[in-house]
Amino acid sequence: MNTGIDVVRIARFGALYIAAARFRSMFKWRTVIAAVDIGNPLFYLIAIGIGIGVLVENNSGTSGTSGIKYIAFIAPALLASSAITGVMDECVFPVIEGFKWRKLFYAQNATPITGKQIAIGVYLAALSRAVFSVVIYYLLLLTFNVVDFGISILIVPIAIMAGGSFGAVMLYFAAKVEKEDYFFNIIGRLIVMPMFLFSGTFFPLSSMPIYLQPIGWISPLWHATELGREAAFEYGLSPLVITTHLLFLTAVTVVGLILSIGQFERRLAK
C-alpha cells in the first residue's frame, strides 16, 4: 500500500523538482530576464506607441483603432508578445541544453523522475517567467495610465495563456532538435518575427490583405491580442468570438503538451 502512495508522491514532486531546478538557474539571470522581458515591450510601446501614435492621430484619429488611443491599442499585444518570447526562451534553450549540450535530462531521467515530469517541470518554470514579467509590465501600464485598473487585469492571464500555448509547441520542437545550427535563426526570423508583425499587433489584422491574414489566425499572439483588447477596452467582441479565442489557445496548449511529453519520453528512452 505504502509503495503506491510513494509513487504518487514522486510523480507529483518530480515535475516540481525539475521546475525548481530550472527556476534557480533562471533566478541567476533575473536582471537580464527583467531587462529583456520588460525592456523590449516598453521600448516598442514608447517608440512606436508614441512615435507612430502621433502620425496616426494626425491622420485618422482613432477611427482605425476602434476608438482606442494608438498607444493603448498596441499595449495588450506587446504584453502578450513579451510573454510569448519569454516562455519560448525557457522552453527552447534549457531543452536543447538538456538533451544535447549538457545532456542534463538523461542524468535526471536516471533517477525515478520520468520524461513526462521533466517536460512538465521545464514548462512550469517557463510559465513562471511570463508571470513575473507580465505582472510587472501590467503595473507599468497602470502607472503610465495606458490602461485603467479594473477588468483590464484580465490581460495578465490572457498573456500568460498566449505564452503557454506557444511555449507548449516550442517545447515539442526544441525536444526534436538534433542539430541546432539554424534552429534559432529559423525560429527567430521565420516564425517569431512574422508572428509579431502579422498578428494585428500594431494595426487591426483586417487592414492586411486577406492572403496575409491567415498568419494571424493561426498565431496565439493574435488570439491573445484580441482577447486582451476586449479585456482592456470596449472592443465589442461577441461571446462566441471570445469563446473561440479561448478555445484556440487552450487547444494549442493541450496538443503542444501532449506532443512534447511523448517526444520527451521517446527521446529519453532512445
Binding site: I50, G51, L55, N185, F203, S207
Partner: protein, 270 residues
C-alpha cells in the same frame, strides 16, 4: 632557402599588418560555401517582412508623411529606413556574435596571429566580409522594393553604397566593442542596446514627433545618421548636409579599426 619562405619574405610586413586582409575573405568564403543559405535568406527576409507589415497595415492608419516639402506614401517613407537598419543589423551581427565566437570559443584569431598575419589584416578582412554580406542584403532588399514599385527613381541605386558605408561603420565599431567582451551576458547587452536604437532612430516615423531634447539625443546616434544618409540618396535629396553623415561614419570606421587591431594585439601578442 625554400621557395615557400622566399615567397613569404617577398612581402613587406610590419608588426600590425602583413598586407594580406584578402585571405580572411578567402577563409570566410570557404566556411560560407559549406553552410546553407538559411542565414542569408532569413537576414534578407526580415526587412521585407517589416516593409510588408508596416507598409500594408500601418499605411492605412498613418497616411502620407512629409519629407522636406514633399508628401510621400508611408511605405515609400520607411523603405530607405529599413534598408539602413538592415545594413546595420547584418553588419552588427557579423561583427559581434561571429567575432565573439572566433575570439573566445574557436580562438581562430589567435591561430591566425601565430602566422605572419597581423591584427590589422584580421580587422580589415573580417570587417570587409561583414560589409560584403551587408551589401548582399541591401541589393536583395532594393530588388524587392523595386519590384513593389517603391523606388522613386533610378537614383535609389546610390542608396546601396550609402548603406555599405553604414554597414562598414557599424561592423568596425561592433568588432571593436566585441573585442572587450568576455561573457555571453555582455554580448546580450549589445542586442539590448541595439533595440532602442533600431526603434527610435526614425526608420518608421520622423523623429520630429519627439520633444527637442530627445531629438537631439537621437541625432547623436549613428543609426540616425545612417538612415538620413540612405534616405537622402534614395530620394535624390543630395545636399551638403550628407557630408556630416559621411564624416560621422568615416570616424566610426577609423576608430573601430584602430581599436580592434590594437585590442587583438593586446589579447594575443603579449
Amino acid at each position: 632557402m625554400s621557395t615557400a619562405i622566399e615567397i613569404a619574405q617577398s612581402r613587406s610586413s610590419s608588426a600590425m599588418y602583413a598586407g594580406r586582409p584578402q585571405v580572411l575573405l578567402e577563409r570566410s568564403w570557404l566556411a560560407f560555401r559549406s553552410t546553407t543559405w538559411v542565414p542569408i535568406f532569413t537576414g534578407f527576409i526580415e526587412p521585407v517582412l517589416f516593409l510588408l507589415a508596416f507598409g500594408y497595415g500601418m499605411g492605412n492608419l498613418v497616411g502620407n508623411i512629409s519629407v522636406g516639402s514633399a508628401s510621400i506614401d508611408y511605405t515609400m517613407f520607411i523603405a530607405p529606413g529599413l534598408l539602413a537598419t538592415s545594413a546595420m543589423n547584418g553588419a552588427v551581427y557579423d561583427s559581434t556574435w561571429n567575432v565573439f565566437f572566433k575570439l573566445n570559443e574557436s580562438k581562430l584569431y589567435k591561430t591566425m596571429l601565430s602566422t605572419p598575419l597581423g591584427p590589422m589584416d584580421i580587422a580589415l578582412g573580417e570587417i570587409t566580409w561583414a560589409l560584403l554580406r551587408g551589401l548582399v542584403y541591401s541589393i536583395g532588399f532594393l530588388t524587392v522594393v523595386s519590384v513593389f514599385g517603391l523606388t522613386p527613381s533610378v537614383w535609389a541605386v546610390l542608396a546601396i553604397p550609402a548603406a555599405s558605408l553604414v554597414a562598414f561603420g557599424f561592423a568596425s565599431f561592433g568588432m571593436a566593442i566585441t573585442s572587450f567582451f568576455k561573457t555571453y551576458q555582455q554580448m546580450g547587452f549589445v542586442t539590448f542596446v541595439l533595440l532602442p536604437m533600431n526603434l527610435f532612430s526614425g526608420s518608421l516615423y520622423p523623429i520630429s514627433v519627439y520633444p527637442d531634447w530627445l531629438e537631439k539625443i537621437i541625432m547623436a546616434l549613428p543609426l540616425w545618421h545612417g538612415i538620413e544618409l540612405v534616405r537622402a540618396f534614395w530620394f535624390g535629396n543630395i545636399n551638403s548636409g550628407i557630408l556630416v553623415h559621411i564624416f560621422y561614419f568615416l570616424i566610426m570606421i577609423a576608430v573601430g579599426l584602430f581599436v580592434t587591431s590594437h585590442r587583438l594585439r593586446a589579447l594575443f601578442l603579449r
